[in-house]
Symmetry: C2
């Protein structure tokens, strides 16, 4: 599998996900503003991958700071973090990564600047490595939920490309496949960006996992035909009560799963949990431009001047979620208590 993002000398390079699968092309970031732009423009996407990109972006930003004192350095570093956090509003991993980097810098305030800068770069590499490791753990915990021979429906791309590597939802699917469970996948194409068709199908085909793509509007039909055994998606932010923000369309897949008595699982690292937020209604939902709906590449497909609504995410209330799969294990309802327990554990072990 091609890496999602990596250091390349003094630069960051990431696969331009807007061009997949027809072109595999590196996108180079030389400064932190390039990283912000790459996140905004969806060169890189997926909550955990955005977190990794933000950490690397902070490190590259730190390197370029010319400050006479550590205090001045940290003040400027915080400003960069503020800019970075606003690149996209929904995925909380962005803020999580920025805060982790800021915390490290502040904790090293009595070290020489060059040392802080070097540690920040190392920390970004550590965040990348941990992310992959967490995904493997999620896979290990989550694959137990997938019966042999099951057909799994997934929405958007919560795969290797959405993370440092291996994937959250697709990590669980990969782990079940590696166990020899002979599963197959139905991938919602996921308009308007078609991450399911372009990225999920591409990743799974590379791994030899059978996958069929469907239009987003066919999920209900297939569930009613008993062609779907379970659903797994990723998450962009999970509130303290277990409400889940994820790619637009996740909510209606969850409602349909409930209607058809099909389990609906969410796989996400603990860094996706935002315990400062009581419930999902408080999660900001990014509204993107209408041209993503009425244009295809440079080709206009809708009538001139057409209006479009383009929410990029939606909120799935916890009552639709059968379980949340994390690197520390599987959380079952009631989620509030389960999340608290795991986060306490995270604080102790972190």
């Amino acid at each position: 599998m091609i890496p999602t993002i990596e250091w390349h000398g003094q630069q960051i390079r990431m696969i331009d996900q807007r061009k997949l699968p027809s072109k595999i092309e590196w996108h180079i970031c030389k400064g932190y503003k390039d990283v912000i732009k790459a996140i905004e423009k969806m060169v890189i996407r997926g909550a955990p991958a955005i977190g990794v990109a933000a950490a690397m972006g902070m490190a590259i930003g730190a390197r370029a700071i010319h400050a006479k004192t550590t205090a001045a350095f940290i003040a400027r570093f915080k400003e960069i973090g503020e800019e970075m956090v606003h690149a996209r509003p929904t995925a909380v991993n962005l803020r999580w990564a920025v805060e982790r980097m800021r915390g490290l810098a502040e904790g090293m305030a009595d070290h020489p600047l060059d040392e802080i800068k070097a540690f920040l770069r190392q920390e970004s590499e550590k965040i990348l490595a941990e992310d992959i490791e967490n995904n493997r753990k999620m896979g290990m915990h989550g694959q137990g939920l997938i019966p042999k021979g099951a057909t799994v429906l997934t929405h958007c791309n919560a795969g290797s490309l959405a993370t440092g590597g291996y994937g959250t939802a697709l990590g669980v699917i990969r782990a079940a496949h590696e166990k020899g469970k002979k599963i197959q996948v139905i991938a919602d194409e996921t308009r308007p960006w078609l991450q399911g068709l372009r990225l999920t199908a591409f990743e799974l085909m590379e791994d030899g996992i059978p996958v069929s793509v469907i239009a987003d509007n066919a999920a209900g039909y297939l569930m009613r035909q008993k062609k779907v055994d379970l659903v797994i998606t990723g998450a962009d932010r999970i509130a303290a009560n277990g409400d889940v923000a994820n790619k637009i369309g996740t909510y209606q897949v969850a409602v349909l799963a409930k209607t058809h008595n099909i389990p609906f699982y969410v796989a996400a690292p603990l860094s996706t949990i935002d315990s400062t937020i009581k419930n999902g209604d408080m999660i900001p939902v990014e509204q993107r431009g209408p041209e993503e709906i009425y244009r295809f590449g440079k080709l206009q497909i809708g009538p001139s001047g057409v209006m479009a609504l383009n929410p990029a995410f939606d909120i799935t209330p916890a009552k639709y979620v059968s379980a949340i799969i994390t690197e520390k294990g599987v959380i079952r309802p009631p989620f509030k208590k389960g999340i608290e327990n795991l986060l306490d554990d995270r604080d102790l072990s972190g």
Copy 2:
């Protein structure tokens, strides 16, 4: 509004709906096989429009029959009908139109062939005119269900372009607009053919009715945000119990409407009701090629060799339908009785 289909001298011409809205182009049919091909390839689509096209196609087919006896003529005419009926399997209007034309020919068996042929052409014109008239009546009956200022969600295109003119679901919307109700429309883009984006938005914008397009996967989010007051769609076939076959995605919109306590209405002429079929599970659902999912025009957008499932329709059980709007009035549940009553009425008056 541009006409969907019309006689043009000895030929049939129809707007090529695959090219809208960027190109307004006539597609010419010189023989009945051209009409079959146009239906198969979706040059023309929408159950009532397919019915009109089939009737015209039968008339053009009749004209070309060289037969020595009326019996030979009718035998050949029936064969053409058999071919026509198989152009697409789900919309019952196709069979309805073919049977009406065949019935006319058989009823005229003692007339000269030229006279039969002329009557068949007239009958096809009558079917077109009746379709438009029926849509206006549906609009009149249905608009009472739309409150002032309502936001109406619709799926696919059940508009002027799906019919002889005016539209079924969009006919109801047009009638409410003409009453000055200041409504607005949310149009599901309706993958893979994007009839909502390309046709519904185009039609409504021409009429000055406010419309916003959404990805199919955003309907649930908007319903949860209380941005949708009611749903109206068309139908391709309605079973005796009120189960509705319609464009893929209709079923899940209906489930979502139910979940959010939003009324879900279906607008269709009586010719869409198939009283020979007890329930929706007996309606054949057309499965179309995977390339409609992974290609956009000639551009391949998915990975090479990707598999895709592409059901063109789905079945919405009657329990999700709040009412069926027909040219004879609004049918409320229980639909079986209501449909029987209206069809009895149809037999008497027709």
